[in-house]
């Protein structure tokens, strides 16, 4: 069956968020929620960190303002120390 446009958009958004947080907020690739058994969602925690850095509303969700910042061209140096 064809993938619905909404599901495709959601998949692309999740891909963008994960890739951005891996590049600039040290989100580890094995920290994806489906690989965890308990504890906080690391994507949400990293999203909150990113939103606080950019002065956005800290929701832990990839809202429009957050996605807009993520789509801007930028320096490739991480925003947090490795």
């Amino acid at each position: 069956l064809p993938v619905s446009p909404e599901a495709e958009d959601e998949r692309k958004t999740l891909q963008l968020v994960e890739s951005y947080l891996q590049n600039f907020y040290n989100l580890q690739k094995d920290q994806k929620p489906h690989l965890r058994t308990k504890g906080d969602n690391p994507i949400v925690e990293k999203l909150k960190e990113m939103q606080a850095f950019f002065g956005l509303q800290v929701t832990g969700k990839p809202d429009l303002d957050t996605l807009e910042i993520m789509k801007k061209s930028r320096c490739g140096v991480p925003d947090v120390g490795e």
Binding site: I69, S73, C75, G76, V77, D79
Partner: protein, 168 residues
């Protein structure tokens, strides 16, 4: 402003730089002018000096690179990541890599090389990203005409916290 974790800094104030290669999208003379102007952004407010070398390893090696360029931080093609730089240190430390696939220019078309270089050199000298949207060290690209550029106070405070004020 924010300093790089661990507060790395150059132990000398007289630093060298070398331009390893050029982008075909700009005249070599314009690339050199952009580099000199970007370095002067920082040398104007600190005791740091920068000398160009062509025949040996320099403290700050500047190059245009394509996709995977063997530093574990591959570029991603046009737009997205424009450049990156390494904190002060031996070897790759201080080096600046610019994504060859960007539309580099000396004016407001595409991405202005001077603005991106000035930001990356901030990293080469020990600054991290600022969360002040008006600062040069803010991570997102924003164009300012090079002849109207003035280093924002946030960046002056940051670099002077590391190297002190210019003696001039």
């Amino acid at each position: 402003y924010s300093l790089t974790p661990g507060n790395p800094k150059w132990k000398r104030n007289d630093l060298t730089y070398r331009i390893l290669n050029y982008t075909p999208k700009m005249r070599q003379a314009d690339v050199e002018k952009a580099v000199q102007k970007a370095l002067s952004v920082w040398s104007n407010v600190t005791p740091l000096t920068f000398k160009k070398v062509d025949d040996r390893e320099a403290d700050i090696m500047i190059s245009f690179a394509y996709r995977d360029h063997k530093d574990n931080s591959p570029f991603d093609g046009p737009n997205g990541q424009l450049a990156h730089a390494f904190q002060p240190g031996e070897g790759i430390g201080g080096d600046v890599h610019l994504d060859e696939e960007e539309d580099w220019s000396k004016d407001g078309r595409g991405y202005n090389l001077f603005i991106v270089l000035a930001h990356e050199l901030g990293h080469s000298l020990g600054l991290s990203h600022s969360n002040d949207p008006g600062a040069l060290m803010y991570p997102s690209y924003s164009y300012t005409a090079p002849n109207e550029f003035l280093l924002p106070q946030d960046d002056i405070d940051g670099i002077q916290a590391i190297y002190g004020q210019s003696s001039a």
